[in-house]
């Protein structure tokens, strides 16, 4: 086992069973290496929050039996269609699905980042999310014209885990234009990051790179994990592994197919 494997495993150990775990949307820094370690460990009862949506990683965790609930504005395999294990688990009543809508999840994370109790969001009226969710409701705008407005509570995950193109030696992580990752991280109690590589020096002093950084004070642990987001894409470093995602989409249509695919994915050391 290489040192970086050890680190990813240690990092995944920080995510306790039952944790409320926020994960980036597809192709936005999904920490697949950590997800793999969680499955290898046999993590249970995770309460996932998509940022604001999810894909391969959520489907994988659900299929592997690690998940109690999913809060997301959408879960899919993108161009490959529905997320088969996620859909099957919802249909079988095996997980709780907490449907959201993107701007409401963003608002919840922003409120979390600012430790505000709530934030308003435009629209959402008439939707069944508003009807079904006891934690969303309509108040009167306290300002003229005192129109009804939907408010949602802060989202404060136990852990936000993400994968990024690089960290620097000072522990700053470059997330580029995925600004919502900063928000999700700052809203969380604990922040775990895997990266492609360690960049020498301190990127805060690089005026071009600084605006894309999630800086060291927000981060609890960093581990090296080359291609740690694969098979999902990590712009600008790499695109999706189409062959692997195709094989997943096809295999995961059935329970048996998924189990076989997962065994291959975990490899011979995969069993916890």
């Amino acid at each position: 086992m290489t040192r970086s494997d050890t680190n990813v495993t240690m990092l995944a150990e920080q995510i306790k069973d039952g944790a409320r775990l926020a994960l980036p949307s597809e192709n936005s820094g999904v920490p697949v290496a950590v997800v793999r370690a969680l499955i290898a460990r046999g993590a249970r009862d995770l309460r996932l929050v998509g940022g604001p949506t999810g894909g391969f990683a959520i489907d994988l965790l659900v299929g592997a039996g690690c998940v109690a609930s999913v809060e997301a504005a959408g879960v899919s395999l993108g161009p490959r269609g529905l997320a088969p294990r996620f859909c099957a688990a919802v249909e079988a009543g095996e997980i709780e699905m907490i449907d959201s809508t993107c701007p409401a999840t963003h608002a919840g994370f922003i409120a979390g980042e600012k430790r505000l109790p709530f934030m308003a969001v435009r629209g959402v009226f008439g939707s069944d999310m508003l009807k079904n969710r006891s934690d969303w409701f309509v108040i009167d705008n306290p300002f003229p014209p005192h129109d009804p407005v939907v408010v949602v509570p802060a989202i404060l995950p136990d852990v936000t885990a993400l994968h990024a193109p690089m960290a620097d030696e000072a522990g700053n992580v470059w997330v580029g234009n995925r600004r919502e990752l900063k928000t999700m991280a700052r809203a969380a109690k604990q922040v775990l990051v895997t990266v492609e590589k360690i960049h020498p020096g301190n990127l805060v002093k690089d005026s071009a790179m600084a605006p894309g950084l999630l800086t060291a004070p927000y981060i609890d642990l960093i581990a090296l994990a080359p291609r740690g987001a694969a098979p999902t894409a990590l712009p600008p470093d790499y695109g999706p592994d189409d062959a692997m995602l195709d094989s997943y989409a096809s295999a995961a249509k059935t329970r048996e197919g998924f189990d076989g695919w997962l065994a291959d994915f975990l490899g011979p050391d995969g069993a916890a």
Binding site: A83, F86, T101, C102
Partner: protein, 245 residues
């Protein structure tokens, strides 16, 4: 040369005609026809620009997932196309599930940004390319987005059109229902009634949806096909004819 076009080319041309005089459209995940219609509209409406998910040259966002929603709130996002599993006669759309949502018969993706954007984007086109009583229903099983708000609610946009493979409906915000705007070539009002699970208004004269002219088809098979191939190479190849054909 009549009818010398694919179903997709017809829908691209028709949808493009619904995009009006706005300036900015975002086409979401898995939306080749809306993306193509946006590209076509760029030629028809100077100043119009379509952002295409999956095309890095057409992704002008630099602040992550929040930015398009803030842009919509700012009135900078004029046009959006929503699909779904079901749409009902009040323009409620369902992207979530069939059956009881707590224990659905069939689960789908989820609502994405629709519930918010439904109040912010002036020109929303609902696109259901498989017109049937299973998709155009009396009442959706789950409301992912609804135009039905309490009185006085802020609203700067909403659904305007419902385009299917059989016809085009116009949404009337005053009545909260649909009116048949045109029937596609070869279709009849009766056939559309048959295939539709909700009631709608039928005006005295229902025009036939215009067919794309030669210049439009040439444009679709030229610049649009090229531009679309960045994000949707397979679709462009399979569903749009070769240039000059």
């Amino acid at each position: 040369m009549m009818r010398e076009y694919t179903k997709e080319e017809f829908l691209i041309a028709t949808m493009s005609g619904l995009f009006g005089d706005g300036r900015f459209m975002v086409s979401g995940v898995n939306s080749p026809i809306p993306a193509a219609a946006g590209l076509l509209h760029e030629h028809q409406q100077p100043g119009f620009f379509v952002s295409i998910h999956g095309d890095p040259n057409r992704t002008p966002f630099v602040d992550g997932g929040v930015e398009p929603f803030d842009m919509a709130a700012q009135g900078r996002l004029d046009t959006f196309v929503f699909g779904g599993v079901q749409v009902d006669g009040q323009a409620n759309i369902n992207l979530v599930s069939i059956g009881d949502p707590k224990r659905p018969k069939k689960r789908f993706t989820g609502s994405f940004g629709a519930a918010g954007l439904y109040y912010l984007i002036p020109n929303i086109v609902l696109f259901f390319p498989s017109h049937s009583r299973r998709s155009l229903v009396q009442k959706v099983d789950f409301r992912s987005a609804s135009p039905q708000a309490p009185e006085g609610a802020f609203r700067q946009g909403g659904p305007k059109w419902l385009l299917t493979d059989l016809c085009l409906f116009r949404f009337d915000p005053a009545t909260g229902g649909f009116e048949l705007a045109s029937v596609h070539p070869g279709q009849t009002v009766a056939a559309i009634r048959d295939a539709t699970g909700f009631d709608f208004v039928v005006p005295k004269d229902v025009p036939t949806t215009a067919e794309p002219d030669a210049a439009t088809l040439a444009r679709i098979r030229g610049d649009v096909r090229d531009g679309l191939s960045v994000a949707y190479a397979q679709f462009a190849k399979d569903c749009i004819k070769q240039p000059g054909s």
